[in-house]
């Protein structure tokens, strides 16, 4: 069944059909969220919130448009919410003079050196650059499609992508890392 068919069933109240959509997109959602947020706990929460929000707003979805684009756009916003929340926590714990890192830097459940390494490198990018990179490299998105997800102009999306690629290249050259 296509996404559209499943989503139309969901609109008729078939909640179980939504399980298939969740299964179809959950790994991808988690990968994107981990790229933006940098840790698994937050990524899982953001993905979960996204799936719930998507379901609750299905009536607003325009079936003429791409579902993945709409989904990624909501996921991106939920990730930004998480980042803001994390910053607020950081400020709060700084105020009470407690080391903030122990509260919000949750290591992955199954940490592997390469994954941590990747996450360290990705920290040099801002969220827009991270999601632009992911969509470009993994999904083959163009600047125009990235712009739809980020809700900005294609020109702006092109700049985000370019800056991200340039930063990565510089970092790789500085660190002398061969991928």
């Amino acid at each position: 069944m296509t996404d559209e068919q499943l989503l139309r069933s969901c609109l008729l109240g078939e909640v179980e059909e939504y399980h298939k959509i969740v299964e179809r997109y959950r790994t991808k959602a988690l990968a994107i969220a981990m790229n933006i947020l940098g840790n698994r706990e937050d990524a899982e929460d953001a993905s979960q919130d996204t799936f719930i929000q998507v379901y609750k707003n299905l009536e607003r979805f325009d079936f003429q448009r791409s579902f993945p684009n709409w989904f990624y756009s909501i996921l991106y916003k939920r990730c930004l919410d998480r980042l803001r929340k994390r910053r607020r926590f950081a400020r709060f714990y700084q105020k009470i003079k407690v080391e903030p890192s122990q509260f919000f830097s949750v290591p992955p459940a199954n940490p592997s050196f390469s994954l941590l390494d990747k996450q360290e490198l990705m920290k040099s990018l801002n969220p827009k650059e991270r999601i632009s990179l992911f969509l470009w490299a993994n999904e083959g998105y163009t600047s125009g499609e990235i712009a739809i997800v980020l809700k900005c102009s294609p020109s702006t999306a092109r700049v985000h992508l370019f800056k991200a690629r340039k930063k990565i290249k510089t970092l790789l050259e500085n660190e002398n890392v061969t991928l």
């Binding site: 988690l30 990968a31 990179l133 990565i168 991928l179």
Partner: protein, 154 residues
């Protein structure tokens, strides 16, 4: 080479996205030298967290299901239907009240007009065929009807 340097310089001095996007589209994306200074797709793919890197994670479905079956939309519907009924009931009461007030107002005004009409009713002169005529006013007993007729003066 010189052009690449000029473009890089122009890119760095004007931080406007539209301008930068234009330079990227018009030169950088087409220039091999410039593109060699940014990470390739392979390099990026190797760097970002891939779906395979995600591994096992908690089953999100139970929480999602309880979230979507929370009946928030239905609760919204209940809320809105409650308000719909309340607005409808208020509307009906309002219409009755307005009708009552309008009826009262018109009936009062009507009485005044009638009274004023009775008070002012008078016949100064009647002419029939351009000749003076004699008016007769007749009101039958126990009736509000008034008959007026004119008779030619002989």
């Amino acid at each position: 080479m010189l052009r690449c340097k000029v473009v890089t310089f122009l890119l760095s001095i004007f931080p406007f996205k539209f301008w930068q996007g234009f330079l990227i589209r018009s030169h950088i994306q087409k220039c091999e030298r410039c593109m060699s200074r940014v990470a390739s797709r392979d390099e990026v793919e190797a760097l970002i967290v891939q779906q395979d890197d995600v591994g096992d994670f908690r089953d999100l479905w139970p929480a999602i299901k309880s979230g979507v079956v929370e009946k928030k939309p239905e609760r919204k519907a209940e809320f809105s239907s409650y308000w719909r009924w309340a607005i409808a009931a208020t509307g009906i009461v309002g219409v009755f009240l307005a009708g009552f007030l309008v009826y009262n107002f018109l009936s009062q005004n009507g009485t005044i007009l009638e009274q004023e009409g009775e008070a002012r009713f008078q016949i100064n002169s009647i002419r029939v065929g351009d000749e003076p005529a004699t008016p007769f006013v007749y009101q039958p007993k126990d009736s509000d009807m008034i008959l007026i007729w004119a008779e030619k003066s002989l």
